[in-house]
Assembly symmetry: C2
Homo-oligomer: 326 residues x 2
């Protein structure tokens, strides 16, 4: 049976959101067990529902890797060490992103052959059920072609097993669609992909087309560019939603208009909200590691827990090893 | 008197859009003269209004720099050579972007001390009259800190004289707001900006905040990242507008809603449309060079002509030289 280790502390909404998420998740997933790690006194509602491991300390949101590694009794470190000891299949936290990703990498170590871990996420696009996956979306500041080649494997596996896309099409993020365009890194990487004949590699793609073209399943990029791409999309979507809200509040007529149009327009601001996916997956380390958003509510955290389950069911670590060995 | 040299050919809408733009522009700007370059027989409507220089050949949209340089009788090359000979203050074209930028750089040469030319554009944000300037947004594939330092000067001048922002605040595009975060290039560049005490430098900024924070006037980045940022914003804005349209077409009720809300929502898709600025400015070369969008209509092309006028009035080339010498 799949066992998910949950760091219940450290998010913006404290244990309240995570406890509710665990309760809902267990209700809907009777084939999964949970180990809840955190302040025992805050986890009383979970008694009898799942295993509870007491951890008195909470990692602050601003903590870096070294801070986390030093806090041996924090819920984050206790959870990571439980995974390292093989007590579960995956770990999830909504605490400090930098602290969690770095201490997870140091604690769990890399999978054999993997050069760098990558952060992978996806956002809902175009039609319901269709997701755009970005890999790496921010674990690294700098990468080389060999690392990007591995990211493509990892992104493709994510797209296949989290987004349920059968044969995901992979593109390299660039400043133009032609093979000979791009930064020096992209040019070299494109050559490597062509030489090694990466399965279903479709070539380079501009950021605009990556957003608009429904054919794009996976965008591969270094972590710095992935962060810029993802955050530009997020900021613009938020900005447009704000404009829309203001537009409907303009006067009495537009307010009436909203009442009539509500059914159509209400979902728009949720669209493209990559937070609805719940979290991002750190791929390449020796364990399933999901970073839920710091401001996750119960719904978001539950969505992120589902990622752990899917990844564990898909036996993702073995699949990454196989891909890397090819 | 300011004199603008116009390549009237090579855009998606041919000479029709540019001729109309010139007519409108001259009506509203009696302190500017125009030299219209193109097929004489297509410019008959401009007779008596401005100087006409015949150029029989048209550069195709796909032309690269070498193609353009070889087409001595093309309207693009004739226009560039007129500027080189000092026959005008600036040149504008809506033909092939790559071909125009590269042949402009080769023909006009760089301003003394400038390491690389940068493409600068801006898009309307937040409140009307507020613009976000991006420099370099795509002229380069790779840059070093010294080049980015010069881009900051050029971006700031653009923001001041095109966007009318008195003392523009400059940020470095990065994957976090802290000075010590970013790609190796960003980290080095941040250090250089701090050491040299760049006027009104505010530090690093994430793409999300660059879009959302009204304090940001100028975002400095290498051309590759600038392209990804700008195109991600453009794609997302377009995607959201499409969703909105579909939402209003959902059923009879939402259609009625649109009629009531029209006044508010109609302008949204125009917001963030960086095309409404008309074009991008190539800064750093020895001449004012504006690239209007390939699909410019008369209104867009006229907007782009205004950029040439403002830049000439501001004596931008001297100002860049002064900034670079500091």
């Amino acid at each position: 049976m799949i066992k998910i280790i949950v760091d219940t502390m450290g998010g913006d909404n404290g244990s309240k959101a995570t406890v509710e998420a665990i309760k809902n998740f267990l209700k809907n997933n009777d084939d999964v067990q949970v180990i809840a790690v955190g302040r025992k006194e805050e986890l009383k509602e979970l008694e009898g529902l799942c295993e509870i491991v007491d951890a008195p300390d909470v990692v602050p949101m601003t903590a870096g890797a070294l801070d986390v590694l030093r806090m041996k009794n924090s819920s984050m470190m206790v959870a990571l060490n439980l995974l390292k000891q093989g007590k579960g299949d995956g770990v999830i936290s909504c605490g400090s992103t930098g602290g969690f990703l770095a201490s997870a990498t140091i604690t769990l170590k890399m999978l054999p052959g993997v050069k760098r871990a990558a952060l992978v996420t996806s956002f809902p696009m175009q039609t319901k059920g269709k997701y755009l996956t970005v890999c790496d979306c921010g674990a690294n500041n700098e990468n080389n072609p060999e690392e990007l080649y591995q990211f493509a494997w990892m992104g493709q596996l994510y797209s296949k097993y989290v987004c349920n896309i059968e044969d995901p099409r992979v593109y390299l993020l660039s400043n133009g669609g032609e093979d000979e365009k791009g930064s020096p890194l992209v040019k070299e990487t494109n050559k490597l992909f062509r030489e090694k004949n990466f399965p279903n590699f479709q070539g380079n793609i501009e950021a605009r087309e990556a957003v608009l073209d429904p054919k794009v399943d996976v965008v591969v990029c270094d972590g710095f560019n992935g962060n810029i791409f993802l955050k530009a999309v997020e900021g613009t979507a938020k900005y447009m939603s704000k404009l829309m809200k203001e537009a409907f509040l303009l006067n009495l007529s537009t307010k009436i208009g909203y009442l009539f149009a509500k059914k159509g327009v209400k979902g728009i601001s949720k669209q493209m909200d990559y937070k609805s996916v719940g979290g991002a997956l750190l791929l390449g380390v020796n364990g399933i590691v999901v970073k839920a958003h710091g401001n996750s509510d119960a719904y978001g955290f539950e969505s992120a827990m589902k990622i752990v389950k899917r990844m564990a069911k898909a036996n993702i670590l073995e699949k990454i090893k196989e891909g890397i060995a090819q």
